[in-house]
Symmetry: D2
Subunit: 346 residues, 4 copies
């Protein structure tokens, strides 16, 4: 039996982990869920959707108390806080799947430029970037898996085949992303205040979002090119979902059908990437709550542009169900265990 | 193996059945899904959330063609159309779970007053009203199950214990319901036009909604009282969920805690009714996409009023997952098979 | 020229005052807008909709600095804070229109039961409840106008005629209200966190909302009856608007047409109350951003219930434009000056 | 007095015209509003926000009946239908402001490629494209004004200065637009069905939207360059507003401050274009219901990209209030008459 601990379990990452794991088909058990705010309270009282389904109480995040009771931990903590927990769980020889950005970037200086000082840079090399569609083999043997950011998941899956097959310029790729507000986390803020968002649409962190280096790193590594992107995220007045519209400058002539063929071929063995047919356009609702990434595309011959669109749920394929996909891989479960369910639509 | 047919499968009832059944744990198989509009097209092309999960094509609804391939059919057809199919499938000795209102009312004259002429009134007695919390035993042996309306499900479950235990007046019960727009079905209309609904709230069919006689019938039968209700539904600018706020005139003095005790006791063996603790208030998000009905209540002593609030998802407990609960009962599966998953929250 | 000061101008009440006053046709000028948070910043930088339309800067709320420059002040401050400002402005002989609840209740003990200690109870008698449809004549000569709460505005206007004409029981009136989230104010909170509200519907403060005594007071005073209400507010996943559904027990037989006649007659000279025709149902969008209150009704003879529905915009007729209506009355402008514009629909 | 006719007045363009004109300060009168569907019904019964504000009835669109009673007509009709009315009103020597696309394109062959056969191509030269920020002088003397499309309004205003000042490549400009659903008009459709859109985000008409040639034409004419664009519109689950994110390839080095300076200078005399300060990002709510276009921008030096973002309300600056701006210009009213009001925010 795999004993699972969830550190920082009352936020969206944690609550989604519990929701999804409550229907996992493997021999697993959540033995620990921490929350400083709700320590001592039943999970189902704090998260009413889990009432009757998850029968444990939140506890304080005490590593030494928790380590003996778990084989693998998910860390749903903010950046920087994660750094204080990851080394401790690794010292206890526990597998760690970390939702924060702390171990996603390979280079400490890049991390420090976009975030803050890194206190365990020696782990950066050791950490595996947990996007199974690129790093499945390394994930299998990893001790520390850095679960990808939500925007990078959608953007990388949309762009990679075009770069790998040398079809598009690697410089100045335009990534226009639109996210539901759950991407901002469970803590209320001006950004998530309903009257500020409702019947409103805007961009934010224009060209300066922290997911930029993560996207550039992974695309560069996987394509062996020096990739640069112009990345603009936007707030959609909705709860879940990221739609990413990518504009690629074509470096060779290719038709929509040909490019679809390349994408279909590239992802043919991936259980959670669905390349749509010609004329179909991804929509976030079709993947809501699920682990799928839907991709559609179109070539505009006049302007030598390929438009590739991907849709994910930021809380599932963009976070928690992708983490469970990683758990399945690293723990020897079938990769799809507990994850082959449909998006909630409508 | 239970072979399942879904007649009228491209609407919300049908698509939700397929979504939920794709994770059912019993030995079942969807062998047929009909849609006049989409006959010949793959389900996953029409309903993109099911892409890769449901591998059949829509076909035309030809009873004679379908009957040999199914043991049980769900009918997701409009009122009146259902009447033309139900007798045929019964003649083929198939179990029928019907989503329409055609067999919910016991008396043909009541049906004909609120709907239209009834062409198979002899089946009204035979049909079982498919609310397991009231009619579980009859469902077990039923051939024809009339799956309840969405509003009646939430209203009846909220009101029944208070009537059974003689705590409230049976006359003039106020039922103020609020529904997400998926309750209007998949066909676009002025009522569901997004700009007409967005940042807008209104009532409709004030005191004249067709679910009124259904609520009054079931409450009267189950409580052995002559129940009358003032029922007003409202459109909420959202997709899923019904919150029902019931105002009961207390016929005897009772405290909030006492009334909660009565409800908790009444529903203690029900897997899908969750009576919340004192001070907790149901919310539709906690049950979104799930088969749960959450109930909370409060007594106002000054005005001798009990306020009982229930939350369901109109497409699941209010329609498709409740139908599967009925299928489980009538087919000998564990009642909770494939249904014990959490609401999608946030 | 009327010189206007807005104390607490960066919240919704204040920003709406500036939006509406920027199109007022009278000889007025906003000479002061205060905000501790944004003191020194141009209004149009903080409130981008007002950019280019309101050309002043926020300043600190220093009464002695402000008094010489204003003839009338609007106070858009929280309960309790208002009490510290109102007496000072009155001492400077300024007209005060106060948005808080601090001077709405006539009896200090009722106020103290529902809110907190009152530090200027002697002003409670002096204050006029600023609902022009009831207190127009007193408003004309008032120094201190207590601008009504949003829920009371919609509820009182919906109920009063039925009580005045002795058509309904005064005890146990059911008031089921639904409000957009801007009613919670500009400060982010768990209640207004978009992912918590989106595709979600719930009740709150069931039977315990602070607007209850305000509704009971004004209805009792105006009808000369002892009125009690069961009042339940609900959060609607939208920004603006309150729909109130009132359930009245009829004390005499009356038809829908007769009751409509009574309401139409009662409000025939009111410029901002629109009694709809038979069969029409109010909707919040029709009054969005406007000063109108729309009322529709229906009698259910079977259950001897009258259902009266009112729609207002909580930020305008429920707050800022009603305050300007009061300003017009107290300052000698035509009552409709600057207020006869249509709701924003769709 | 200017006598105004509105042909096709029950749709969004028409209802917004009536809403805005009801507060126009000039000597105007709406003498005629047509609607085949609602002929004979009072405007305020069909459009409840206008109840009490617009006191005429809808009538049938009979040109000969209408012409004697109007000086200027707005045509809020679908493409193709407009072509059957415009020549007739011109023959009656009436000024025409047409909302359709029928007279926006200068070349009949381009029109016929994207739309259908043109039945009055001789009028294409005569028609003036009604974007005052480009064509103010020609509008002044025009008989036929082709009111711009909603997307082109936001896109052209965002792009033009960069092209005029030779700062960006004219080929392959990326225009990623996001629109509220009122852009789809008042007729319900699958696209506007609330459950299909809610908590959903998607693109549509990828690279094939009919506004593409309109954008390319006007940018080419105004910049004397051969402009081509990759234009992708997206549906936002909201009612009003268009945010357009433009990605320009810089043809010369320029900083954010320098580019802002160019835009500020270019629009310094425009009453309805607000160039925001450095770091400010446009949002649709700030212009909701208003005639403003807000523009913000940022230069990404690493990728030599300028990101320019504009926000308009598709129904006002993108349609009806822009049409009134045109009416003001062509009729000799101050250009801002009746249009200087703030966006509805929140």
């Amino acid at each position: 039996m795999l004993r699972i601990g969830i550190i920082g379990a009352s936020g969206y990452s944690g609550s989604e982990l519990m929701r999804i794991l409550s229907n996992h088909t493997g021999d697993i058990k959540i033995t620990c869920a921490t929350s400083r705010t709700y320590a001592g309270q039943p999970v189902g009282r704090v998260l009413p959707n889990l009432r009757g389904l998850v029968d444990i109480k939140f506890e304080d995040p005490e590593v030494d108390q928790i380590a003996p009771r778990v084989d693998l931990v998910f860390l749903g903590l903010p950046h920087k806080t994660a750094m204080t927990f990851v080394p401790k769980f690794l010292d206890h020889n526990k597998k760690v799947i970390d939702f924060s950005a702390d171990y996603r970037l390979k280079k400490a200086d890049v991390y420090e430029k976009w975030y803050q000082e890194h206190t365990s840079p020696h782990l950066l090399e050791k950490a595996v970037y947990g996007l199974p569609e690129i790093h499945r083999d390394e994930i299998r043997n990893a001790d520390l898996i850095a679960n990808p950011g939500c925007f990078p998941t959608g953007a990388i899956l949309a762009i990679l085949p075009a770069l790998k097959y040398d079809i598009a310029d690697a410089q100045g790729i335009v990534i226009d992303s639109k996210t539901g507000m759950s991407g901002a986390g469970i803590a209320p803020s001006e950004a998530t205040h309903l009257p500020s968002r409702y019947d409103n649409f805007t961009a934010y962190k224009v060209g300066s979002h922290r997911h930029t280096p993560e996207i550039e790193q992974e695309l560069s590594l996987a394509s062996c090119k020096d990739v640069s992107v112009a990345f603009v995220p936007h707030y959609v007045p909705m709860s879940r979902g990221i739609l990413t519209t990518v504009y690629l400058r074509l470096s060779k002539a290719v038709s929509t059908i040909e490019l679809l063929g390349i994408y279909t071929q590239h992802y043919k063995d991936e259980p959670f990437v669905r390349v749509l047919d010609e004329g179909e356009i991804p929509q976030t609702q079709a993947v809501r709550g699920s682990n799928f990434c839907d991709i559609g595309l179109k070539v505009l011959e006049k302007t030598k542009t390929a438009i590739v669109i991907s849709a994910i749920d930021n809380l599932t394929k963009g976070a928690s169900s992708q983490a469970i996909q990683n758990m399945n891989i690293v723990s020897g479960f079938p990769e799809t265990a507990g994850l082959m369910y449909a998006g909630l639509m409508p």
